[in-house]
Amino acid sequence: MPDCDKVLLVQAELDGELGAAEAAALAAHRAQCPICEAAAAELAQARALMRDDLYQPVPEDMRRRVLTALAAAQPPRPGLSIATSDSFGRWRGWWSNGASFGFGAACAAALAFLLLVPAMPPGLTEQIVAGHVRALQPGHLQDVASEDRHTVKPWFDGRLDFAPPVKDLAAAHFPLTGGRLDYLNGRPVAALVYQRDKHVIDLFVWPAAGDTPPQTAERQGYNIVHWSQGGMNFWAVSDLEVAQLEEFVADWRNAP
């Protein structure tokens, strides 16, 4: 079929994406364009195939498993022993309700939710640690496993909207072991994985303006060092001793 540059507008009209003026201009064009008329017929044919029963809502048993996993993932909060003692029950309303979310269940759920609102929303530092801990679960650490930065760096091409710097620190006894995609601060980020002896170091990287010197923090027994340089934000996290993690950061910053 020969093409007309207006067929995408025909489609946009079908999808309700055209304003009134654009739609009027298109109608005038369509009256004289057999290509657009044929396109409209084909689009209508495709649209007719997309019936509601193609939608695949979560099956009930899977919903239950997901909610159970979410409940288990909520960190226990000191001082909230009443609520956390029944971490299973507070999700119950969500899977038993369906259309019949009863008044009692609503009250119970409301109460549970109120009790469970964290006193302080966890910030980025907590997210970094959570991302690191999650990655330490079997099979989650790296999407690409390689000691070669010329393998790791291109792996991110097309997976991120930026190219993270990848450095080889084997000479400094921090060998690169791989990388993965992660999701932090509301955006996809690069996670580079390094090692010192048996300790894993995650280095999260994403674009950010500014230059800030390394700052050290500690959460849940993990050490975290954050800095910015060269248009990138860096967060290193590990169970390494703080002096060794700072050595890693210094080596990274000085490496070519």
Binding site: E17, Q45, M50, Q56, F113, P118, E126, D161, L184, G186
Partner: protein, 179 residues
Amino acid sequence: MADSLPSDTFEAVVLPHLDAAHNLARWLMRDAASAEDVLQEAMLRALTYFPSFKGVNPRGWLLQIVRNTAYASMSLNRGVELVPMTNASDEPDDAVSRLPSSDDDPETSLIKTRERDRVRRMIAALPIELRETLVLRELEELSYKEIAEVTRMPIGTVMSRLWRARRLLAQAARRDEAA
């Protein structure tokens, strides 16, 4: 009482979109089991990152996480995305959906199910980037702009992918009827 629920909790903001998350995961992944893995992982990520979510479109935000998780999982298991989910027998939930609904006689219901499975196979056979665009538009009813945000593609790319997806689908339907 229900309106006294805190309106900004994960439960209130994100969980209502669990069906949407599953729908996308199921259409991206080859079988029900890998869709469940992706859904689990994506929901845990969403829970972790929810405190930093400040947007106005939680469904789009969640679908973006589901999509990232699915693509990461596929790159981990290379080749998975090349196998379309053509076989209805790999779906344990399918037996339920085959049960006749009360307002149909068994014959009508059987025809409906067959027709649905036929279209399902045709959509599953589309390349993944066309399939996801089609599913986000037609089943999730996202706007072009929302699809562009979820897939991190320019709107022009969304429009041309959608057009290619629909044309391939219409062609497949014609071939199917001719056969």
